[in-house]
């Protein structure tokens, strides 16, 4: 009953259970955080708007993204992944979500930022439905913890509209 093997086994089991309990507590502690993120999105310029070689509409634009996501960080947060999508509807598709930009926020200090950028990923449609299209710009954030449950949320801004003509 007191051999080395029994003791090692008991120690290992106990260690694993304590670790699992600590991870669960760490994850639960994230729920205590009160969230108050804020953001502003602006389309500064539509650089060009063309039909690609495959026949799909494609847009390039310059965006200004400023946000304060500092309240999302807890001691259990490894990083926050923020990304911006354009969302719109077409006759064929009830929902189109196209990611235009994403960024990794590694710490609380970097969580207050203002970025001036062209879209990182191509804003391409399945088809040619973008002329004069109304769309929403949504800033999503995905909080990735050091251990445990991940959670995500978003801020939707409506009222954007693409130009009526190609340029």
């Amino acid at each position: 009953m007191h051999s080395f093997v029994y003791r090692a086994n008991a120690l290992l089991t106990f260690a694993v259970m304590v670790l699992a309990f600590m991870c669960a507590m760490a994850s639960l502690s994230d729920n205590l955080n009160s969230l108050s993120p804020s953001a502003q999105l602006q389309v500064l310029n539509v650089n060009w708007f063309q039909k690609s070689t495959q026949g799909n509409d494609e847009v390039s634009m310059t965006l200004n993204i400023s946000a304060n996501l500092q309240s999302l960080f807890t001691w259990n947060t490894k990083q926050v992944f923020a990304f911006l999508t354009a969302e719109y509807e077409t006759p064929k598709n009830s929902l189109n979500q196209v990611s235009l930009w994403d960024g990794i926020i590694p710490s609380k200090e970097h969580a207050k930022f203002s970025i001036h950028t062209t879209n990182k990923y191509r804003f391409t449609d399945q088809g040619c439905n973008l002329l004069g299209k109304q769309y929403n710009l949504t800033l999503h954030w995905h909080v990735m913890p050091k251990t445990g449950k991940m959670f995500a949320d978003k801020l939707v801004m409506t009222g954007f509209r693409l130009p009526e003509e190609y340029r």
């Binding site: 992944f81 598709n93 009830s94 990611s99 990923y121 251990t147 991940m150 995500a152």
Partner: protein, 180 residues
Amino acid sequence: MGWVGDAVDSVKSLQIRQVISQVVSLGMIVTSALIIWKGLMCITGSESPVVVVLSGSMEPGFKRGDILFLHMSKDPIRAGEIVVFNVDGREIPIVHRVIKVHERQDTGEVDVLTKGDNNFGDDRLLYAQGQLWLQRHHIMGRAVGFLPYVGWVTIIMTEKPIIKYLLIGALGLLVITSKE
């Protein structure tokens, strides 16, 4: 010579009972592990409720050796979700983030494009020849939680099978030689 025969008989009968009970308890352990695994599959609705991160394409969020808990629900797939999918012809599942979604009006079917956070380009290079989008049936689950470092055990056992045999041999030895 008679007492040798008696001794051998008693040793044999004891041994057989011990061996059988040990085999049964080993079988119980293996079966209960299987029950837990299959139960997890039912609860999470996914074919493999736990996956190990094998590549560095989602760093710094997920490092090689982390374990991801998956869950699959009928909810529509939306941009930003981290999904695990199988490409036709590849057996290793890939864990990346959805960056584009196009959902049909009538059928609700969806075209999805994914990309690893740490990769420069999207996953079209990883898809099958000529495939531009993923559909719902490619996707095995959404990542909902994770544990760091725990997956290294699986990685070591897969990449250096010697360790696997050593472990199983040691376990077998322990079971046989233990007095319980």
